[in-house]
Amino acid sequence: MKAVYTWSAILAIVFASVVGDVLLARAMKQVGDVGALWRRAGPGIVIGRTLGNPNFLFGVTAMAVAFFSLLFALSWGDVSLVAPAAASLTFIGNAVAARIFLHEKVDRRRWIAASLVAAGVALLAG
């Protein structure tokens, strides 16, 4: 039964961090090129626009949910399972979500990269 709890929490981490990453990426695309904006309008505008973006706020909230799910997962399962499983599944989930929701062109090169990094992270974090 504990395994079910652990895997549910892992899936919650993956889901929340994928949602968070997608929302943050969308927010920053809406804010625009930070370097150019910084030169044109100054750091105050950059920070203000970023913090005032609703997608950014929802993204940070989703990241917070992911963090607390991690704490739950760690209270049920071993860190040697939770950390690599959550990290590597997040990479794959992000590639899928970026393609669907951000309309990024996830070509063969990026799929291979995501899979290699996911496998590598699983080995390193385990």
Binding site: L24, T50, E104, D107, R110, A114, L116, V117
Partner: protein, 149 residues
């Protein structure tokens, strides 16, 4: 740094929330939090320039760096399986870095912004070259059918 600082402050219980304030005042924890904020700012800036599927694998180089620091500065043992993990991540990042950093949507042309920095028109030109190749390969289905790619 955070873990080092938190080990110095000792465990925090729900009943002693003042412990949290002491933890934040610990220089290790404070520097750790500042570095995390710096990471977040840099991550957000990178996301304003490039695709999520480009930035995310690139940030995973942090895992590699962590393992190398553990091996060469802290003299920890890094198992062969972990070395394999390092190789895989490095290969993956190399793979994604060779491609275009940003999906060109019709409205946005952010690559033009980088030329403002001057000095590196050649780098911009070479960065664009694979982009164009990539675009023709994936953008036009009829090419993919006739050309064996």
């Amino acid at each position: 740094m955070l873990s080092h600082g938190m080990k110095q402050t000792g465990s925090i219980s729900v009943h002693h929330l003042r412990g949290v304030i002491f933890a934040v005042l610990n220089p290790w924890v404070a520097v750790g939090i500042l570095l995390l904020l710096a990471f977040f700012a840099a991550y957000m800036t990178a996301l304003s320039w490039a695709d999520l599927t480009y930035v995310l694998p690139a940030t995973s180089l942090g895992y590699v760096l962590l393992a190398l620091v553990a091996r060469f500065l802290l003299h920890e043992h890094v198992s062969p399986l972990r070395w394999l993990g390092i190789v895989l991540i490095t290969g993956g990042v190399g793979f994604v870095a060779g491609g275009p950093s940003l999906t060109e949507h019709h409205a946005a042309l952010p690559h033009a912004e980088h030329t403002e920095d001057g000095n590196e028109p050649l780098a911009v030109a070479t960065a664009k070259a694979p982009l164009l190749a990539e675009d023709t390969r994936n953008g036009a289905p009829q090419v993919r059918v006739t050309g064996k790619l």
